[in-house]
Amino acid sequence: MSMLEIKDLTVYYGVICALKGISFHVDEGEIIALIGSNGAGKTTTLQTVSGMLAPESGQILFEGEDITKVPGHKIVTKGMAHVPEGRRVFAQLSVLENLRLGAYTRSDKAEVEETLGRVYKSFPRLEERKNQLAGTLSGGEQQMLAMGRALMSKPRIVLMDEPSMGLSPLLVQEIFRIIEEISASGTTVLLVEQNAKKALSIADRAYVLETGNIVLEGRASELLEDESIKKAYLGE
């Protein structure tokens, strides 16, 4: 059984049909990349899975449970965290307050402290700046905060939306290294990226989205060699 299974998902964004019945699955421990150009429906997919958007039809199964109708604020308690596009950190709150909000649904204080320690270990910069307002962090630090905040809920799967957007090449390296680290620690990753080359280089499998449809899927290593992919997304 797959950890996350999306069946025939159709989503409207206002009057526009953003997803036209897509199906895909994510197995436990995998890094899955969703790639595609702007407006292909990548963000819509993640937002629907995490309950920010309601689908028109279709089904979302997480660890065998139908979560299609589960209200957005309950999704995180199921073990799914979402690092949204554009980071969406709480700019007026401190780094520490942001991280604590990530553990909002957890009640065991000792366990939360332990997770906090682990997040600080992965992101030492966040510990250095824990009392600073999140809005004063650099873009890269905000991305780390958004990721750390998601990890605070101790998720079994993390959805990440364009984590490398707007970052310098060096920081992009760093972010991708951390994604691999998160994966190595046993958390499943569903990754949306415009940086297809990078995404495919760390992913196990990938799906290619085009105007609301999945047009191609396969092993990431094979897609990296695919001529049409090279031409359309890798700029070769």
Partner: protein, 293 residues
């Protein structure tokens, strides 16, 4: 000595504006809407105390508690019935609805309680503080008002900074979707904010009427607008801003009517607001949010 007593009266009036402004500012912060019915909730709350004390002979403090309960329920109901269905509507639609709710409450009060002004007793009945061998006399209600305002402000600051529910409130006020991703129930958080704001409105109502002794269906309207002004003055969305804005507004109003002209007092208050907004459009404590890429 007269300056000091005018100043204290101003601080007291300002404290009432501040308590009301806290309700405005919290609701604005979270729902991004101006709850124009806030002033009328104050009026309803005052009627509750008036009838509880005068008709049922309740203890004044028990009556205030009853009024807080009624206003809290009223605030939650208004939000659920009138504003929640418009959560994703244009802000103009919400604004007009809020004005509609305001008139609705005023007319309900006209129907239930009549248009005649009731003489509102000083329900608190606290002794005055006499200083400097009788040359300065501060009414007990005035002192109570100032202390109540400070306690409420500090309480709210502690609440939003130190409690989980308060942090959720700040998160929702900044980004509803991101807060939802953290597991925060956005609707419940908005309800809680309306509940707190309306509960405070009840307290503001009692303090206002205990000092000015007049209660009619329009009692809440002008103070409501002024409290809103105070919230904007201090920087809407900011708790310390509402506190400082309210105090300054009360002091300016009181000193203007004492030393310049009581007819001009309101004009001066709003002129100061205009000047502040021209110089600092976000208000005294307003935050400039900058997007970072």
């Amino acid at each position: 000595m007269s300056f000091i007593s005018y100043l204290i009266a101003g601080i007291s009036l300002g404290s009432i504006y501040a308590i009301m402004a806290l309700g405005y500012t919290m609701v604005y912060g979270i729902a991004k809407m101006l709850n124009f019915a806030h002033g009328d909730v104050i009026m309803i709350g005052s009627y509750v105390v008036f009838y509880a004390v005068n008709s049922f002979g309740w203890n004044p403090y028990l009556s205030i508690l009853a009024s807080v309960a009624v206003c809290t329920l009223l605030g939650i109901t208004i939000e659920k019935v009138a504003y929640k269905p418009l959560r994703r509507a244009a802000s103009l639609a919400v604004l007009i609805t809020a004005i509609g709710v305001s008139y609705f409450l005023q007319n309900i009060a006209l129907l239930l309680f009549g248009s005649d002004s009731k003489s509102f007793p000083d329900v608190l009945g606290l002794p005055a503080l006499v200083l400097f061998h009788g040359s300065l006399k501060i009414p007990g209600t005035t002192i109570f008002t100032i202390i109540a305002c400070i306690i409420i402000m500090l309480g709210l600051m502690t609440f939003v900074r130190k409690t989980k529910a308060g942090q959720a409130m700040l998160a929702v006020s900044e980004d509803k979707d991101a807060a939802m991703l953290m597991g925060v129930n956005v609707n419940n958080t908005i309800s809680l904010t309306f509940a707190i704001g309306s509960g405070l409105a009840a307290i503001a109502g009692v303090l206002l009427c205990s000092q000015y002794h007049v209660l009619n269906p329009y009692t809440g309207a002008l103070p409501g607008i002024k409290a809103f002004t105070a919230a904007v003055f201090g920087g809407i969305g900011s708790i310390p801003g509402a506190f400082v804005g309210g105090l300054l507004l009360g002091i300016i109003e009181d000193l203007s009517s004492a030393y310049i002209s009581s007819q001009l007092a309101n004009a001066i208050v709003f002129a100061v607001l205009i000047i502040v907004l021209l110089v600092k459009p976000t208000g005294l404590f307003g935050k400039v949010t900058r997007e970072k890429v």
